[in-house]
Every structure is written in C-alpha cells, then in structure tokens.
C-alpha cells in the first residue's frame, strides 16, 4: 500500500501505428495505461497518477497527478499518434511534474513506455538515471515495439543508474498474441514490489483468464457474482445431498467443519465482493452432478425457506480456474458465517420443513414452471424426505447451536 505519485509517459510516436501488438501498438499501450492507473488508485486511494505524451508536437502533460481515475481515462481517449518520441525530455518533464505534486509524502515514480527506437546515447540516459536516483524517483520501463540496435542495452543502463534498492523495474514485452496489459499484470510494475495491488491484479487476471477459458455456467463471476454463486451453490447442494444419502458418516465429520458457511452466503444479497468461489476451500470429494433441474429446484426451495443453512457441506471439483480467489472467499464466507446462523439447528429446521410434504408441495405449486405432479419432482420430494430423516439422526448427535438469524 505504498503511497505513491506516478507519472506515466506514453509513447504516441509514429512507430505506434504498427499492428504487431493487437490491435495497434498504441491501443495496446492505452489499455496498459488504463490498467495501471486502476491498479495504482485501487492499491491506495491516496495515490495519484498523471499522464504525459512524449511525441506529437512535443512533450505534453495531459493530466497532472490526480487520484481521479475518470479524468485519466478521459484524457487517454482521443489521443493522436504522430511525431517522434523524446525520451529524455519526457522523463525530465515527468520528474518536474512529480516534484510539484500536492502531497509531498508520496513516493515518486515514473512509468515510461518505450516503443520507438531510442536515439539518445547511453551516457545521457545514465545521467538522467542518476539524477532521478538522487531525487529518489523510481522508474519503471516498459520496453516494447521497435527492437532497435542497442535499445535494450541503453534501457538496462538507464535502469541500473536509477535503480535504488530494487524499486525500479524494466519489462521487455515481445510482440505477439499476448496483450501488453496481460504481460504487465504479472510484473512488479503492477504488483508494486510484491505488495499492494495483488488484489486488483488477481481480479484482473481472473477477468482476463475468464474471457478465454470460460466458466462452469457460462457466467463470468466478475460480471455477475451473485448469479454465478447461486448457480454454483445449487449445484453443490444437490451433490452434497447425494453424498449425504450415500455416506452419512463421512459427511458428519465434514459437516461439523463447514456446514452452513457457504449456503449462508448464497442468501446474503449484500455479498457484492468478488464472489466466484462458493466452496470454503475444503477437501475435495468427487461426486456426480445431478441434473440441473433438481439442482435449481433445491436452490429455489432453499431460498423460499429463507433459511441460511439450507444444506450440507459443499464440494467443489471444478473450481480450478478460480482457485486463487477461493481462499479469500473462504475467509469471507467463514466470517459471514460466524455472524450468521449456524448449520446444525437450521438444518434440522430445514429438514423438518422439508419433511412436511404438504408444505413443500404448496411451495412447489407456487413456483412458476414447476408441476407438482411431475414425476421427477415427486422423486425429489421422496428422496428429500428420506434424507431429512437421516439428517435428523445425524443432527441429534451434534450439539445444536442456537438458531440465530
């Protein structure tokens, strides 16, 4: 959570028209800039970011360091490509802009995108680097675009001159299918020397990955966390019910561990956090997937009962892609459970309610699209009833907690 003022130097020279980064070098750069601004402002709300362009008619400061993300994004919009990049002047102007930052407590950082060839020689760059180091300004260099004779060497020399205690970094991004922003996400430029922006980075990474790999239910948890969670919950509830019928003993042990955590979350509409993992990150058990209809039905029942702990433990075997977020969510879920109700008593409650056939059928009748006479529904009810009886037996063994809602 380093308090930082950052100046981003954007290369908008003619070299940026090239399409070797999709869609164009300039567009890739703009995306990266937007991401960086977001990451910086998220990691610490008092961070400020400013942007300047190095090419065009000359070095021009588009926005002085501000914490207003909207302003930054607005100025990135409608930038024109043209002219030649003036790296030395750009860095010096950035340094000046940082010097006049409002909050003197902020650390100074410059992020420079070098896409065109570097026409300055090493000596000049080293001098600039030393001056930056003297004024305790950190420098991050993104080397992309043109692969010039000695460009990498010069930039490495610049980095060596500036680098004070590993606070400055250089990233070489080769052209190719990977977007510039994706490559940058994993670098220390984003993660801020290992601390800070990791939350944002993880979210961004998940979003990026999600777009490619797809999710269980075709719903991106980042876009619609509650729906994704509800679907996942219903899936797992059904799986869990099946397991309960099959292996009571094993379930008892795990029930005690994490009974109502995850279901309570499903009821919690205020859970707007980045919820994609419903499982508390427990041990995995392979189980068969019930068909969706039953699963959704379970979920609907649970929700209509307005009962936080609708069912037993959740198992999750398909959560590999969102694994990174499981732990955070597990923690969040656990916390919410402490405040919410516990599983045992409510489970007993739930089982009793479910056992009441008439009640259940009336509920079902009220649900749109569910025909109580549907054989699958009847089967379900029967299985639920038998299961609720077995659950009752289990519950009596445990010490029931107060049912608090």
């Amino acid at each position: 959570m380093v308090l930082e003022a950052t100046m981003i130097c954007v290369d908008n020279s003619e070299w940026m028209r090239n399409g070797d980064y999709s869609p164009t070098r300039f567009q890739a750069q703009a995306d990266a800039v937007n991401l960086i601004c977001g990451a910086k402002t998220q990691s610490n709300p008092e961070n400020t970011v400013g942007v300047l362009t190095m090419a065009g008619k000359g070095v021009r400061v588009l926005v002085t360091p501000t914490s207003d993300l909207g302003k930054i994004l607005a100025c990135m919009h409608g930038l024109e490509v043209g002219g030649e990049c003036n790296l030395a002047a750009g860095i010096q102007v950035a340094q000046l802009a940082l010097k006049h930052r409002q909050n003197k407590k902020q650390q100074q950082r410059i992020i420079v995108f070098v896409g065109s060839p570097v026409k300055y020689d090493k000596k000049v760059l080293e001098m600039i680097g030393r001056k930056l180091k003297k004024n305790s300004v950190a420098l991050d260099i993104v080397n992309f675009g043109e692969e010039d004779e000695g460009k990498s060497e010069k930039l490495e020399a610049l980095l060596a001159a500036v680098n004070n205690n590993d606070s400055s970094h250089i990233v070489h991004v080769p052209s190719g299918s990977n977007a510039l922003s994706d490559v940058l996400i994993s670098t220390p430029i984003f993660t801020g020397d290992g601390e800070g922006g990791s939350g944002f980075a993880a979210a961004a990474a998940a979003a990026a990955a999600g777009g490619v790999s797809g999710f269980d239910f075709g719903v991106d948890p980042n876009l619609d966390p509650e729906l994704a969670l509800a679907l996942r919950v219903s899936m797992e509830e059904e799986r869990a019910r099946q397991e309960a019928a099959a292996k009571k003993a094993a379930e008892e042990a795990s029930k005690q561990e994490k009974g109502g955590e995850q279901p309570s979350a499903s009821q919690d509409a205020t859970m707007t956090e980045n919820v994609s993992a419903a499982a508390p990150g427990a041990e995995d058990k392979t189980s068969d997937l019930m068909d969706d209809e039953n699963a959704l039905l379970q979920q609907a029942l649970a929700m209509s009962m307005d009962d936080p702990a609708a069912s037993v433990v959740t198992r999750d075997t398909d959560m590999s892609e969102a694994a990174a977020e499981d732990q955070d969510l597990a923690l969040a879920l656990q916390l919410s459970v402490q405040e919410g109700s516990k599983d045992q008593a409510s489970q007993t409650d739930m089982s009793q309610l479910l056992a009441d056939q008439s009640f259940v059928s009336s509920i079902l009748a009220s649900l749109p699209g569910v025909d109580p006479n549907d054989p699958s529904v009847k089967d379900l009810l029967a299985s639920m009833q038998s299961q609720s009886e077995s659950e009752k037996k289990d519950d009596e063994d445990k010490a029931p907690k107060e049912d608090s809602k």
């Binding site: 010097k99 003197k104 030393r130 001056k131 180091k133 003297k134 004024n135 305790s136 205690n165």
Partner: protein, 176 residues
C-alpha cells in the same frame, strides 16, 4: 547584546535531538545501507563505523523538521578527513527542497568545515537567522577531497527551545 545572549544561551544549550520530528526526516541522495539514522540517532552516531553516505554523487540534502520551534545555536558535523563534508549550507524553515532549487534561495547560513570541525568542534551559526526554526535543511555541497562519496559520521545540533511548555523534562528557558 549578542555577547549577552550568547552567554545566556551557553548555560542552556541543549542537544536538539529530542526535538526532532522523526516522521518527517528526509535525506535525498543517501545510500540505502548508510542512511541518515546513522548520523543522527542517539546510539548510531556514536558508532564510528556507522556513517551517512551519499549515493549517486557527493551531494546530500538533509531535511530535519522539529516538533517545536527552536533556536539553533551551533552545529557539529563529524566526518573523515577526506570524505567528510566541506561546504555546508543551512536553510531554516524551507520545506521539501530539491537539488534543483537549492541554489535558488540564499542560505540562512553557509559554512565551510575545517578539519577541526570534522573532529567534533561545533560551528557557531548566525544565531539571529535561526531564531524561529521549525525545520532545518542541510545541504552538503561537496566534500573535503572531492571524492564521489561524502561520508558523515555524526551530526549534532545545539540550541534551545522557544516554547515554555517542555513536557520532556525541566530545562531552563531564556525567554518568557
């Protein structure tokens, strides 16, 4: 009059280390392994092996804010014969200076340190200029031998406080 005030302060000169506001202390161009604490802090500065060293070049810019307003009488800077500082400029009450604007203002006092000074003899400053000091900026311009690195072993500030409310202990105050 200055003699009187000088003698008056002689009785009550204190080491102003207690009044340094450590949260705001900054030093530009210091090397990370040899930082300002080595020269200023109580235990460290006595240790001859621990120095404040400059990094990219021989200049240093030290900013010391105080917790209360003080009067600065003299300063003692210890260093080695060759790499100790030579020309030192002091600025009172200028916040957040940088190397670029350090020559824009006339210093409150400028001192050329002799070898004696480097052994610990305090340099008496223009007391009238340091009557109401909230923060002190020390700009070390060059060192004795002109080497790339300036090393400072100890910095001691001598002076008195202005306010009467001194919670730390009982000190004689000259003003009322």
């Amino acid at each position: 009059m200055s003699a009187e005030s000088a003698s008056a302060t002689q009785k009550t000169l204190a080491d102003l280390l207690d009044f340094v506001d450590w949260s705001g202390v900054e030093c530009l161009n210091q090397s990370t392994s040899h930082s300002l604490a080595n020269a200023l802090k109580q235990g460290y500065r006595e240790d001859e092996g621990l120095n404040l060293e400059s990094d990219a070049d021989e200049q240093l810019l030290i900013y010391i804010p105080f917790t209360q307003v003080i009067k600065l009488h003299s300063i003692a800077i210890n260093g080695t014969e060759e790499e100790g500082p030579k020309t030192v400029k002091l600025f009172a009450n200028r916040e957040h200076m940088g190397f670029s604007n350090v020559n824009d203002f006339p210093p409150s006092d400028a001192v050329v340190l002799s070898l004696d000074n480097l052994k610990g003899k305090p340099v008496v400053l223009k007391y009238v200029k340091f009557q109401n000091v909230r923060s002190l900026t020390i700009f070390v311009e060059d060192n004795q031998s002109g080497s790339e690195v300036t090393k400072i072993q100890k910095i001691v500030l001598y002076g008195t406080t202005v306010e009467t409310t001194d919670m730390k202990g009982l000190k004689k105050i000259e003003d009322h």
